[in-house]
Symmetry: C2
Subunit: 432 residues, 2 copies
């Protein structure tokens, strides 16, 4: 059997402790699968004295996180987080030092993945980040290795467990976003500062990583259109339900070939998902990713999107890859092969749209709205009008397929009138 | 860029031609992902003159299939089928010659996987068989690499597209098995001799492969209990539906730790699947696999289980692995590490059971059945009695959880009475 694989681990929070626990609990099986022992020989974390309930005997404790890269190890694992700062410094130092680097840090990979992949290649080291996307679901390996022969036409999915937990709870109890969020924070499903999750940033990080992997294009986190779930009302969920849909926060990327050259479309937004679609049945903190290959057809990967154990599972799978010597290019091809691509415009995209308006309840308002839609060329598939507050009415409209620009034009007209109360809610339907 | 990878291909049926077409159609992308060109340089097939609609220019044609292993290539791909005979001879020759070997041949892997994995290891070559299980779904890589850190507690799924197509059609149209089978044969969803599919043998091949991979145990195809779908009546599907279930052919494997030492339980059989379970929504020729890891939690992989394009996708993914040098052990660990394990007895297994009896419609029959169940300690969760043919009644019973042996005992008692007409139908419920 080969020499043990020596691992240095940065970060002993729930995931870091989970990795140590997993390596211990499944030690025999992991040794057999990796073909060698995997030993954590050095660790770093903020607080040396804290009891984490894991055995750190035999681990060197390193106080300076970046210095972990200087340890005599084969792999450095980073579970600290943060797109820049110490995590990035450690990544650069480890890879430059010819060490393989494993991370769960989606923000860092989304922002600096190209640079890190290049350093890894230049130094013959491996960059692995299975845990950065969709927790315990091996979707990075699925896309990188499982369907590597395919031109992938579209990738989309439920990428944020917190949002899905909140949407499912709103669905089940008819509760308001703020109440469910508070409850989720108490239960540990949402962070004290929930904005990365509920505003879609976390999902956007993951989406941009998957898009690169699927399309062979350079990472472009800045090119993700991003809308979160804060503005969804219980009434939206109820109306969607009546119409045969669930609301899910969907990250969606594809190559747009409609123009003179291919562009990259990336969007995170709440969508209406038909109850016939598998993603409509993905509840609570579960994640799911759909990839459509030109030969594989549609594939679905589903499982736990977060949590210390699933995330540890993904981290350890990467470490085992390295132990086996299966250490090819991070984004499925050499960084130099990844194509620069422009962000796709979205105005010409066609689809059905859900529109919820709160309006003054006075004569002529419906005529005003109908006229604005007609003038923009938007036709109505279904419409429900209900009483909202005092003197207010709520209109929930699903349009026929139209260009997104036409919806924008409709809203521009309506905003210049005075019947709208507050901002309209616009959600696209997920096309099957 | 590295030297092109030279491939020899045996078999130019729909999958073989699909592989050639895929390598051609996605050539640029595949070269970027593989880090080198992939060239099919030699082929063999039964009929040299047949037009397959693919470009074979530049390929050497080899008449003797086994001689393909002597070609100056890096990889031999076998898409001929058959557990023994020429396919096995080619596999042995290629691996012994230090060439990597890629196959879609589930029967051969199920029967000879241990031997072939050992030859591969001894000769430093790779054995890859992603296409042998679940068509285009990268489930072999998912289990081998994606959750390699986990103790996998259970693996199960819908592994045969033909059966699922037939069951879905019976469900939708209320048709009889024989009629749907004939229709499926006309449409190309079922073979002229359908027994490998409808009797569960094909699913059993796949299950035994997944079991080895998941549990680190030696392949044991002979240890799979196997029941097909021929005896399912439209009335079974209708009753199951009324009770909240769909019927699916499920392959299911787990390590049984209830005895003094661990045993391997492997079963292919039609099951009642709750409509709440994702597998209940897997229709037509789609396949789906669920794996439960002790850290990953429950994972679902779903997609096209057969067809030339999905299968070609899996074959080419294996070839790309080899081009990248990602060529570790076939069954996730060295063959010598795979444990011998006994077949688990099943009498003590507990679960709910669906029982359908056709009985003579005369006084006292229900009392007879109820007494037989009571004496065996089986209690009834739900029961429907309907008129069947003239002088016949049909009883559909779902039991409370009980030992499988108790069901056997009930049936033994009933068989010795004279009220049963034909063989009872027994289907286990899939436990959530």
């Amino acid at each position: 059997m080969a020499q043990p694989l020596r691992v240095a681990l940065a970060g002993l929070g729930t995931v870091g402790a989970g990795v140590i626990r997993l390596l211990h609990e499944n030690r025999d099986l992991i040794t057999r699968r990796a073909g060698r022992e995997i030993n954590v020989v050095a660790v770093t974390a903020r607080d040396r004295s804290k009891d984490r309930g894991v055995d750190l005997d035999g681990c060197r404790w390193v106080d300076d996180m970046t210095a972990l890269a200087d340890e005599d190890v084969d792999v450095v694992v980073e579970l600290v987080g943060g797109s820049d700062g110490p995590a990035l410094a450690l990544a650069r130092a480890a890879l430059n030092g010819g060490k393989s680097f494993v991370t769960a840090n989606k923000a860092m990979v989304a922002h600096h993945g190209m640079e890190l992949a290049t350093i890894a290649e230049d130094n013959g080291s491996a960059l692995k980040y299975e845990a950065a996307v969709a927790g315990g679901i091996p979707v990075i390996k699925g896309l990188r290795d499982g369907i590597s022969g395919n031109r992938i036409d579209r990738v989309y999915g439920i990428l944020n467990g917190t949002c899905n937990y909140i949407l499912t709870a709103m669905e089940q109890h008819g509760s308001a976003f703020d109440d469910v969020l508070k409850d989720a924070q108490v239960k540990g499903y949402a962070e004290a500062d929930p904005s990365f999750d509920v505003d879609g940033v976390d999902a956007a990080h993951k989406l941009s990583i998957m898009a690169s992997l699927c399309f062979g294009t350079q990472l472009n986190f800045g090119g993700v259109e991003c809308t979160g779930i804060r503005k969804i009302l219980p009434v939206d969920i109820a109306q969607a339900n009546d119409l045969g849909y669930r609301i899910r926060l969907i990250g969606h990327a594809e190559i747009d070939t409609s123009g003179s050259e291919p562009c990259l479309f990336q969007r995170v937004s709440p969508r209406l998902v038909s109850k016939d679609h598998p993603l409509a049945h993905v509840t609570e903190a579960t994640n799911a990713v759909v990839a459509e290959g030109n030969y594989s057809g549609r594939l679905l990967f589903q499982g736990a999107g977060a949590g210390d154990k699933p995330t540890a599972s993904a981290v350890v799978a990467d470490i085992i890859d390295i132990a086996r010597g299966e250490t090819g290019p991070a984004f499925a091809m050499d960084a130099a092969e990844m194509e620069a691509i422009s962000r796709a415009p979205s105005g010409h995209r066609r689809g059905q749209v859900y529109l919820r308006l709160i309006v003054k309840d006075r004569p002529g308002v419906l005529a005003e709205i109908a006229a604005a839609m007609r003038d923009a060329g938007v036709s109505i598939d279904s419409l429900i009008q209900r009483k909202a507050g005092a003197g207010e009415a709520m209109l929930a409209i699903v349009t026929h397929e139209c260009e997104e620009q036409a919806i924008e034009n409709t809203l521009a007209t309506l905003r210049s009138a005075d019947s709208l109360i507050g901002e309209p809610m616009v959600m696209h339907l997920l096309r099957d």
